[in-house]
Amino acid sequence: MVEDLLHSQPGILNFGIFFLLATVLLLVILGFVTYAILAERKVMGFMQLRQGPNQVGGRWGLLQTVADVLKLLLKEDTIPKLADKPLFILAPVIAFAPSFIVIAAIPFTDKLQFADLNIGLLYYIAISGLTTIGMVTGGWASNNKYALLGGMRAAAQMISYEIPLVMSVLGIILLTGSLNLNDIVAAQENVWYILLQPIAFIVFIIASVAELNRVPFDLPESENELVAGFHVEYSGFRWAFFMLAEYVYMFAMASLTTVLFLGGWLPLFSFLDFIPGAVWFALKFMFVVFLLIWFRSTFPRIRADKLMEFAWKILLPIALANIFLTAIIKEILKLF
Amino acid sequence: MDLETLLSFKWSIMTPEFIILGVITLLSLLDLFMAKSVNRKLLGWLGLAGILGALVALLTLMGNGPETILYDTFRLDSFAIAFKLLLLIGSALVFLIAISYEPKEGLTEYRGEFYYLFLAALLGAMMMSSSGDLITLFIGLELLSISSYILAGIRKKHSGSNESAMKYVVNGGISTSITIFGMSYVYGLTGTTNLLDMARHVITLADSQHIYLLGLAFFMIFVGLSFKVATAPFHMWAPDVYQGAPTPVTAFLSVVSKTAGFILIVRILMVIFYNIPTEGPGSMPLLIKVQDYIAFLAAATMIIGNVVALRQKNIKRLFAYSSIAQAGYLLVVVASMSAFLFDTLWFYLGAYLFMNLGAFAIIQLITQKTGSEDIAEFAGLYRKAPILAIAMAVFILSLAGIPGTAGFIGKLNIFMGALVVEPAHYVLVSIMIATTVVSYFYYFGVMVQMFFRPAANDEVKFKLPAGLGVVIGVCVFATILFGVAPNVALDFLQGNFNQFSDFFQ
């Protein structure tokens, strides 16, 4: 049915149907975010030998995050006098919207995908960069020293790590010869790119953690240095949207990692292909999310100068080298 | 493209460019890894050696007929060789001036960059002169422009330098955008960016709307390029930039950059717009139709340059207006479109190169010594340093077009070119001659300072740095040689470049 829809003349009807489907996805993602936060707390609790949320929220704290959201919703909203009001209001929207838009291009299985773009990967990278603007806008609009500093740091960090991130996937593009995410998954039929491109994977995962502003790269919002970074003046639901954007990004990035390096919906071994692709995808996806949470509870925060130098002096050369290593190996293999 | 095709290209024709590129790389790396204590002037000499190497390489490439590589994007025809020769000689002299450049607040930190940015700009100019494709042409132009922007502002702490660089960037950006917008139309109507392919396409155009659009494109490209050569309507930047930029940069802008600009104008105009028929195939070319427009701009440039120069007190500003005027004379060559166009342009640019660079060498020496750029600083120069004063007099006389100097022969060439065509450009020539007479006022104003006025303080002794000495010597020699025996240059041109007949091949 969806196939027919995709091949029909675009119009209002299509728009409506897509809208409904997208809303469903949005709800799924909101659900994910709700429980990802809970999972994060729980996992970290376990790892650090503490209890995760256990006082409210019913069994296993399942309603904890729900309660959090309600609390944020009911909280009074203040905008500082000195703030640039229009920008202050706009900033969370700018931060959130791109994080959601990128998900449109990600193939969850060979069937379950919203937009099959030829330039899927480029699209993802291009759009994901926009969030930075939201953060800087928020920091600037607040007219607060912490916020502005946090915003600038966020921008500096994100643009610095954007480069190795973008360059690390070049190896994959070289091997696949396409920017289409479906093609990239299909090319991993025999062997996953995590094995063919281990260096790229490492660079990618580090850069993506930095892009997500997560520990150990969470300097823009480090509580003890900058109080809370660019969103120090935000409260209530406006603040919630910054948080939401971050977790939706985590969702998107984990999905992308799965697609790029872990073979997407493909089974681990071909004899296991009776298990549906969606399940495989979910498993791998959850593994990546777990990995991210694991990082958070184990690594200490990096110092700001080390952070920046790490991106430029280590990750970037490695990523560049990886590209040419890939190209040269490919060239050598062609000779045989 | 496979390896065979790649290797089948005759890469040797790019040797001069490769040499310059290699030297740039080498210099930048050396600058980075050399100890702080090592004098960076060493890099300057190295760069000079590179330029001379490229010059030698270019000379060995001479007389091979047109060669193209990379699917016609890079072409080495006699036009390219002849004008690259000027670019290289000009740059070599600029380099000598730059090596002797010692501004008051020092340049130690940026001296290395200073040199290889010059080379980068030179590389851009060289690419421009040999490219057969709009894209490479554009890239060359921008490499030249962007390097020049930085060069103009290289004295970071000097607010005049900052200001001139800023004005240069803004003006340059605007004109680049206009040019590229014009180019986009030309591309759109031909579907290719290769100049000769374009020419082949436009020759068959018959749709009057397309012609109209191309006319629009012509104006945009021409107006945009007028920035590079500092002619009206885009000359306004020149005085400010020339005044604020470091003197070697000013010299570079006024000579090498201008030469490159004319190369570009001739390439684009002659190849594309000369082939556009205005009323169906075989009719009068667009370029001839807009000749009057070019002539008008040339006249405006000459008048503005020469008249405004009369009011100047700052020597560099004076020379800025003088160079605007000179660009106007050169535009007369373009406007007249005679059979002698290439010869005349080449000879005048060559003469202009020597006389202007020589003058700038002396200007640098004086302004550096006295710390002021006022024309009054030249007072009593004859008493203090007679040889310097006489050399300066030679350059100024040449700029003014007095017989016995290269400038006169150049002007003679221009007049002849403008008068030999049918219908002859009497008005344009008259304006040119009249403005030349106007220029006597300010040129001789400098002479009056040097020879008639007493010096403010006699104690200042001039120590002539070796680099400047060589520049001044070479320039005096060449200015007089090409003035007395211009056939040296003209025969060289006739003997080696075969009338530039391969320009359209």
């Binding site: - | 004859y382 017989p403 007049f415 008068l419 056939n487």
Partner: protein, 502 residues
């Protein structure tokens, strides 16, 4: 034979420049001697050429031609658009050359009054001589123009640096007027060159005079070029509305420079009009003859009237020069043999007379620091010999028989009377005026009331005798035996008369 005879002649002063380079700048007497000696080779060579010519040998053998500049592709264009280095003389230019050489030598002697920077002065002086000699030897319009311009620069400096109070202003007005003049001339030359492809005077004359169907150039075009040329040379000559610079220069420049300026540089204008205006555009020149004659009369009267009211002797001489140049124009306007001969005679004779008078001005200015007529009164008592020469010069200038001025004025007016009697009658008034103002001025100086003591003032001495004697000698020689000039001029005149169909 005579390999590069003319080249050596023209460029011989350069030897002096080179020699001067090695002389320390403080050695005044050495510099002056070298400067003087450097003018001698040209003098000797031109005298030799003159006497050889008088003794009947042809001047053609002096012609030189070397390929110089070739525009465009020589294989395709051949001789077209090539500029050759061509030197050559005919009777007329040989006389001018000789005049230049003589006056240069004498002016070099008169340069003893220069007070400062002798080295620079003499270098420029010699360069100026090269330019002047070249102008008369050039057989090629572009070459002519180059020498013409070369005279401009040294003159500018000579006026601007070694002149009197308002020297710089004078230098600039000289530069701008002459710059404009030469600009116009350059346009004419370039148009001719671009249209015909040659700049050789003979070839041009041939092409343009045989171009009766106006294939090369329309009649209007030719007329335009001729008028432009008249303006160009008119500035130099100077013709009436274009003269103001010249007065300034004559007053402000040092005497030795003015000797050359009045003696030679002004004559280049006349030379140009005769050689090129008449030579290349004879038909058009005929159409303009009346105008030229009228201009001549205007010049004559205007100069004379203004000279009448001047109190400064230099101003009197300056306006008298304007007035005398009017006679040249009158002669030319007559368009017959007598007239043209008169014009040429006037060119030579005024050159000599003006040089003499300005030299004498230099002599007493040196001693008395003034050239104001009332201040000079009674000169005859203090400096009788100088006063005597002055009187003689004035007589020559106003056209006393037996001196060169008479021959030229007589012939010029004779010519004009034949063609335009009314105009000539009006012009004759100028002759009377000339007598009036010159006598007023000279008598005022020599016999006027003495306003000052002349004690301790020496008369002519040493080398000062040479210019005075030589000049007065030649003036008298021409006046008594005009054949020295008429004979060499015959063939040149014939050519000109052939052109204008007279």
């Amino acid at each position: 034979m005579n390999f590069a005879y003319l080249s050596i002649l023209v460029f011989s002063p350069l030897l002096g420049i080179i020699a001067l380079l090695f002389v320390p700048k403080a050695k005044e007497s050495v510099i002056k001697t070298v400067g003087f000696l450097a003018t001698l080779p040209a003098l000797v060579l031109s005298l030799m050429a003159f006497f050889q010519y008088r003794s009947g040998s042809s001047l053609d053998r002096l012609d030189e031609m070397v390929n110089w500049i070739q525009f465009g592709d020589p294989n395709r264009l051949g001789e077209l658009f090539s500029i050759k280095y061509e030197l050559g003389v005919d009777g007329f230019s040989l006389i001018m050359l000789l005049l230049t050489a003589i006056l240069s030598t004498l002016a070099a002697i008169a340069s003893m009054y220069i007070k400062k920077e002798w080295k620079g002065y003499f270098m420029l002086f010699l360069l100026l001589e090269v330019g002047m000699l070249g102008v008369f030897a050039a057989e090629n319009l572009i070459l002519f123009f180059i020498f013409f311009e070369i005279t401009l620069i040294p003159t500018f400096f000579l006026i601007g640096k070694w002149g009197y109070f308002e020297k710089e202003k004078a230098a600039f007005s000289f530069l701008i007027y002459n710059g404009l003049g030469s600009a116009v001339l350059l346009i004419v030359i370039m148009v001719l060159f671009a249209r015909t492809g040659t700049s050789n005077i003979e070839a041009l004359t041939y092409i343009l005079t045989s171009d009766t169907d106006h294939l090369v150039m329309s009649a209007g075009g030719k007329m335009g070029l001729l008028i432009a040329m008249l303006i160009a040379f008119g500035v130099k000559l100077p013709i009436f509305p274009l003269h103001s610079w010249m007065v300034r220069v004559h007053v402000q420049a040092s005497p030795s420079v003015v000797m050359l300026h009045a003696g030679i540089l002004l004559k280049i204008g006349a030379y140009g009009i005769i050689r090129f205006g008449m030579g290349i555009f004879p038909e058009q020149f005929q159409d303009l003859a009346v105008l030229i004659a009228v201009l001549g009369v205007v010049n004559l009267l205007y100069g004379a009237f203004l000279a009448l009211v001047q109190t400064d002797f230099k101003m009197v001489l300056a306006y008298s020069s304007i007035s005398h140049m009017g006679i040249v124009l009158i002669g030319l306007g007559a368009l017959n043999e007598a007239g043209i001969q008169g014009a040429i005679f006037q060119v030579v004779s005024h050159g000599l007379i003006a040089a003499l008078l300005f030299f004498l001005v230099g002599v007493f200015y040196e001693r008395l620091q003034t050239s104001n007529i009332p201040n000079l009164g009674g000169l005859a008592k203090g400096m009788p010999i100088t006063a005597g020469f002055l009187l003689a010069g004035a007589m020559a200038s106003l056209g006393m028989p037996g001196m060169s001025g008479f021959v030229s004025e007589f012939m010029a007016f004779l010519g004009l009377f034949k063609e335009m009697p009314v105009l000539a009658a009006v012009g004759a008034l100028g002759i009377i005026l000339t007598a009036v103002y010159l006598l007023r001025a000279v008598l005022g100086i020599t016999y006027g009331k003495a306003h000052r003591e002349f004690a301790g003032i020496t008369d002519l001495r040493g080398s000062e005798w040479v210019p005075a004697i030589v000049l007065i000698g030649i003036i008298v020689l021409i006046g008594v035996y005009p054949n020295v000039l008429t004979e060499p001029l015959t063939s040149a005149l014939e050519t000109i008369m052939l052109g204008i169909g007279g």
